[in-house]
Amino acid sequence: MPYDVMLITIVGLPFAASLAALFMRANARNLAAWLATGVALVTLLLAVLVYPSIAGGGVVRHVVSWVPSLGLDLTLRVDGFTWLFLILICGIGALVGIYARYYMSPDDPVPRFFSFLLAFMGSMLGIVMAGNVIQLVFFWELTSLFSFLLIGYWHHGAAARDGARMALIVTSAGGLCLLAGLLIVGRIVGSYDLDVILASGDLIRTHRLYEPALVLILLGAFTKSAQFPFHFWLPHAMSAPTPVSAYLHSATMVKAGVFLLVRFWPVLSGTPEWFWLVGSAGLLTLVLGAYFAMFQQDLKGILAYSTISHLGLITLLLGMGSPLACVAAIFHIVNHATFKASLFMAAGAIDHEAGTRDLRRLGGLRHFMPVTATLAIIASAAMAGVPLLNGFLSKEMFFEEALGARWGSALDVVPTLAAVLASAFGVTYALRLVVGVFFGPVPDNLPKRPHEPPRWMLLPIGFLVAACLLVGMFPAPVIGPFLQAASISVLGAQTPTYSLAVWHGFTPALLMSIVTLAAGTLLYLTRRGWLARQDRAPLTGGLNGKAIFERLLHLLAKTAPRWLERRFPSRRLQPQLLMIILAAALAAALAVGNSPAALEPLRWSSIDPAFALLWVLGGACAAGAAVLAKFHRLAALILTGGAGLVSCISFVWLSAPDLAATQLLVEVVTTILILLGLRWLPRRIEVQTPASDRLARFRRRRDMVIAITVGLGLATLAYGVMMHPVEDSISRFFLERAYSEGGGRNVVNVLLVDFRAFDTLGEITVLAIVALTVFALLRRFRPSAESVGAPAQQRYQNAMDERAPDRSVGHTLTSYLMIPGLIIQLMFPVILLFGLHLFLRGHDLPGGGFAAGITISVGLILLYMAGGARWVESRLRVAPVRWIGLGLLTAAGTGLGSLLFGYPFLTAYFRYLDLPIFGRVPLATAVLFDLGVLMLVVGATSLILIALAHQSLRRPRPAAPSAETRPSEPAGDR
């Protein structure tokens, strides 16, 4: 299998399997478990197969080009260090898969669990294999997301939800910082490619943006790896199912942070900033984590704080900055993953079989679960750093580095002191764990009668413990080559010589080991009773990370918005609109004030008396509408229409027939629409409010002043713009090419359907969305109670029809609409034909799909007016939603069609066709696009109009007086 396929499979397979697991039945526990384990094993096998080509320090790369111009490619790369992580992720993933099969209860939706687990595994593999830093951040955030889903898997528990939310907020916020940091780095280097970045260490370290980039990247790594002060999320993530903890908090999630630190170690380390930031964070985390761990009473709590402490150890090693310390960090990453995963699994087994994880309730379990006890004791010993186990080896390397540390004369002793202290605490909590659970008297109030877990739950634990032993006893042959490959891939030529041996003779480091083991045991023996009585760590008990986090979140999500709301004056619309208008006016005034040239050539334009007269009329209409809109809505509507007509005439006058046609048609439709709406708007009775309303009068005057000022300003601005000579704009481009490249003489239309077709596509999509929204809003429409009854005119007519002996209800309506109705019926085909005419000539003459669409829907609504909705719908099937869909499909399909021929989206094609009778006919794909516009406009317009018209037929219920709609009533339309 070629390497590129292998690399893509390693990342892609878990995601594919995750998707597949989602479709399994909720009780398909075995299938999902074997799928997950199988996928992990396959990726593990593939990773093993890659090994020969990276063993000597080589790199396997595969690049899938995506947006090369932006430096965005999908790059997968594997080197020695990545390989080590691949083995950890896939190997422990497979073991967790087996373990989880027996851990999870059949009552839980287990396939979903495995789906999340697989997706998480894929994201983790994506991080370590990313050859592009943007890609790395992408997968980084994916791990945050899937860890959220995994931690919150038992979402019925509040603790799980809170823990998941906290982990998500902390780690994804860190991920955003990481993105910012890596973008800066990419900017410094000029590439987002990891290999380029890794080769530009000197450039980055000496750049003036080094500090911000470093701080941001460290924020990402520290939040993920639970470094102080961001450590608080990790203990709360323990409400996850234990297999999740075993996976996330040993080999994966939290290791992503230290992975990042190691990965960028050659680039970012070696500066005082790195040393102080990383070193002090690691040191504090190491000591505090171990300190807190001693006081935990929950088994998983001990392991959580111990994880924090060990991550601190790794960070501290990396902060020290020496290549040997970096090797030790890589080594400890592997060791910690093995013993911590096995310990979590053992803790899960104990919880599973004994029914509790509380150290104060457990005891004497070695009698019931001897195998589990043996395995857990060995793993705990590895955690405590007992010789002949893997934890001892990396810890001794750490001691040596701590002894050799030079932090500045007085501080030299600090790392040694911290190392001894934390390791002694580590011995103490390991002893608490082992003795508390497995030794001592058997309590008689255990929730369950404990027994050995199933063999398949023990197997993964045993496997990992065997690894701890093998590495601990024969480090050089078992882990040596892999560690060397990983170190070379990170450190390159800096790789130090080191010896992996159990026995180095009597060294200071060995002495330190002995001291810590003795001190830790002593501490345990003298203080065990006191430790067991503590509910939280003394001295630092008041410092509660969770409480601070919650308070901060409250501040950001509640207090700050409230403050903003109070500061910015009102929830009411009018003050808001007032502010918008004033802000806009101010912005315009400032812009004009800054460029006085805009108003420089103050000349008087000519005044065409006819045009002026026209606008005297238009202005009167507008002002009249403004005055009458409150109490005389119909009059205001008619006057608005008048103003619209005048602007329509202006368009004709000023050589824009396309605009005039469209404006006229839209005017018609809008007027009909508002007329239909007026029926449901009870009339306002004009009452002379007494002089009491001084405030209202003040507002009216103030608004009048503002309106007139802004109007004057706009008029001045418009005059200035119009008198300003038009510079050579891009319009020339369109005029010159409309015919030669767009095949149309009507430049406006060619612009809409060809040059700027993408805008038009967006625009008609908006129209479709609005139409559907209007339709949806009207389905549950509750008109005001006053307007539910028949309108006054209808009542008079019906009363008259009832009084007359020779008439029945409805006669008046039909008789007075008889002649207009007949005319409309006869004209309907003519209107349709006119619409078609507008459409067909649109490319060369004023018209086009939009105007044609509105014409057709006007024809339709006229038919409705003439015959009534029932009459029309019994004869004509109008399916507006289909028209909308068809139109959108046609327009988008035309655009996609160009992709088939290798052109970008929406490239138009045209040619002339010689037809026998019609002669030379232009044939452009843009016309097809325009057809889509036409269909959509017909659909959208008629959907809106018909939906509103239908309200009269459906006997709408009045709105409940409580101003609440009941949710589930039948729509009852038609």
């Binding site: 208008i581 606008w615 000023l654 706009l714 008029a715 805008d759 209007v774 101003a963």
Partner: protein, 114 residues
């Protein structure tokens, strides 16, 4: 010509702005319509006013100077469509709000605070 159109834009926008600052929903919908007329005319006018220019290309005459500027027209055409859509949406929201709240105030309740 320009002076008249500028004055027209001023009157339309002043009427519209006065209306959208009023408390009644119907006033706001009329106001928005008037403002959109004003804005459309304004955008259109940025291309320069031409009386009697050719709106469509004539065969053989490629001089761009003799044609009306197509770009503002295309922009305004889009704006007309969108303003129709917003008017329709606003109208339905207005009607629903009148039904649900029983008043035609833009905030859904009468302004009690002085």
């Amino acid at each position: 010509m320009e002076l008249v159109l500028a004055a027209a834009i001023g009157v339309l926008s002043a009427s519209g702005i006065w209306l959208i600052l009023r408390p009644r929903t119907f006033q706001v919908i009329i106001g928005l319509t008037l403002i959109s007329y004003a804005v459309n005319l304004f955008i259109f006018s940025t291309g320069g006013l031409r009386v009697g220019a050719d709106p469509v290309l004539k065969a053989g005459a490629t001089d761009p100077g003799r044609y009306a500027d197509p770009l503002p027209q295309a922009l305004v055409l889009t704006a007309i469509v969108i303003s129709f859509a917003t008017t329709a949406l606003f109208l339905v929201v207005l009607l629903a709000s009148r039904g649900l709240t029983g008043v035609d105030h833009v905030d859904g309740e009468e302004d009690e605070t002085p």
